[in-house]
């Protein structure tokens, strides 16, 4: 009997330490949703570009800024949709678990993910304005991956692996830029869906 009490106490100590350092209300479904949005986005890219392979000769000429606009708009909409879905589902999850949404951990989490996202965003805009689009998609994937790795410390560790995968896909795209549309589908689409499902089933949310 006594053994049980000791276990209970150790467990509650472990539980408190985890709850005070990690944000565990993250919704796996939002990963699946983000992946689906990205796949739809890829479909649009494919339609606008008329092929799965990107021709940078065509992009990096005089009119590249005009040609790039529909891609940028679609990508931006997808980003906003993905972030909103993630926030909404995560808040709903936190309420279900009776966990605080806004606490020292979530603040650290948001700060840590904002840095790579904002820096990445600025870097990408600079590339667009320099009319050099070759590394725009790799940058998206790599900064996203770096953000995920740093956030993984404050929530599910699996996010670190997702981050590593995204960085890998990003670096491959940097080596073979013409594959951009395909790797966008793999990175933002497929990988998000896979990890969303893993998170959902592993942690029952």
């Amino acid at each position: 009997m006594k053994n049980n009490d000791f276990y209970t106490e150790l467990n509650s100590i472990k539980n408190l330490m985890e709850r005070s350092t990690k944000f565990l209300s993250l919704s796996g479904i939002s990963g699946v949703a983000a992946g689906l949005y990205a796949l739809i986005c890829t479909f649009f890219f494919f339609r606008i570009n008329d092929s799965l392979s990107i021709d940078f000769e065509a992009f990096n000429n005089q009119n590249s800024f005009i040609n790039f606009t529909p891609f940028a708009i679609v990508a931006f909409i997808v980003l906003i949709l993905a972030i909103s879905t993630c926030l909404l589902l995560t808040i709903r999850q936190a309420k279900k678990r009776n966990d605080a949404i806004w606490n020292p951990v979530s603040k650290k989490l948001l700060t840590d993910i904002s840095i790579p996202l904002i820096v990445g965003g600025i870097f990408i805009v600079i590339q667009i304005f320099s009319k050099n689009m070759v590394f725009v998609i790799p940058s998206c994937l790599i900064f996203y991956g770096i953000g995920l790795i740093s956030v993984g410390n404050y929530t599910f560790n699996d996010l670190k692996w997702l981050g590593i995968c995204q960085i890998t896909v990003g670096l491959i795209t940097a080596a073979y830029p013409q594959l951009g549309i395909i790797t966008w589908a793999i990175g933002f689409g497929l990988l998000n869906i896979i990890y969303g499902l893993i998170t959902h089933f592993k942690y029952k949310q």
Binding site: N3, L10, L16
Partner: protein
């Protein structure tokens, strides 16, 4: 103590929310820890609101680790 050991510091309101206890309950536990010199207290202001942060003291860390060790030993003994 578990929470403070896992974090550099934690403020009063966040502790209250995490542990889901009342002001008075939390305050009296913290007072007891302070008396044993297991925690360090840092009082400051955010604007005009007082904000108190708590951290473990070296003595507190040591005491808690002894406690964990004792629990572990007791579990081993019982096997």
């Amino acid at each position: 103590m578990s929470v403070l050991l896992a974090n550099d510091y934690y403020d009063f309101n966040s502790l209250k929310e995490l542990l889901k206890v009342t002001d008075g309950n939390l305050a009296s536990h913290l007072k007891a820890l302070e008396k044993e010199e297991y925690i360090d207290i840092q009082k400051s202001f955010i604007g005009r609101k007082p904000n108190t942060k708590y951290a473990t003291s070296p003595l507190g860390k040591q005491a808690f680790k002894k406690h964990l060790q004792a629990l572990e030993n007791l579990i081993k003994q019982q096997k």
